[in-house]
Symmetry: C2
Subunit: 157 residues, 2 copies
């Protein structure tokens, strides 16, 4: 690799940082999917959407998409899947027929109450190689990166 890259004027620190962020995200996602989500037939994105709706409750789909970090087109499909499984419901906004409100069903709430502690336990296990300080420092650095990139792209909202 040094071969191929020698002679180029590169920022190796940035390269290592970016590569590890992506690798870690993938590793964590796969682990949580396999240990917590797959046994309940949930995908990562399905889980994230459920989480967002669980926390916010009765939320418009465009906000769900933003919070979940996916496009509105994707969200339509994901919500369809979750609705088919009876975990959430869709209804037209009473004051604006363009908007759609989403909320968990009783079944969805029950699932989250049961699954979330398990999910968090596994999150703890995954990060158990880091001290509390390292965890918060890690989160802080990553938040700075996200904020930086958000500054590049003027809010499309």
């Amino acid at each position: 690799m040094a071969d191929r890259l020698s002679g180029m004027d590169l920022d190796m620190d940035a390269m290592a940082a970016v590569q590890n962020v992506y690798r870690a995200a993938n590793t964590i996602r796969n682990h949580l999917e396999r240990t917590v989500l797959a046994p309940h037939d949930l995908t990562w994105t399905g889980w994230v959407v459920l989480w967002v709706v669980w926390i916010w409750g009765d939320i418009e789909t465009r906000h769900v998409a933003t919070e979940a970090g996916i496009s509105k087109g994707t969200l339509t499909g994901v919500i369809g899947t979750l609705e088919k499984r009876g975990l959430l419901t869709r209804r037209v906004h009473p004051d604006d027929a363009r908007r759609v409100l989403v909320a968990l069903t009783a079944k969805g709430r029950k699932l989250m109450t049961r699954l979330f502690p398990m999910f968090n336990t596994e999150e703890a296990r995954v990060t158990s190689a880091l001290s509390a300080n390292e965890k918060t420092s890690l989160a802080r650095s990553l938040r700075r990166v996200v904020a930086q990139v958000d500054d590049f792209t003027p809010p499309t909202d």
Copy 2:
């Protein structure tokens, strides 16, 4: 959110760490896709696969899959896409007809030589809110997380 979660015995540091890793990975990926990859009609995964083959040169597909962090089934499709565009070639291993060797075409090499510096420039921009120390510290923490998870799952190789 504090509402919904109060009364539960949670590891908030772990939760914040995991959420930020995933959010940052997504943000970085989207940014690099939009600024560097999309103008050349490349997807993130396509890029990663090209990168791996570029660096290693003449590599078996199973190793590409491992390095790129995707399943072999996915790789078949991605390589098909890249092959259709004339960026790499597939050929049967001379000593073992089960294996397949992949290598970049001249067109593929040319693309990487031109695109990689641009990609790295953007990686630098994305992480420019962090000091050199923070970048290496970030990478180190993330490597530790990955190593930890790898310890959970005995190597399936």
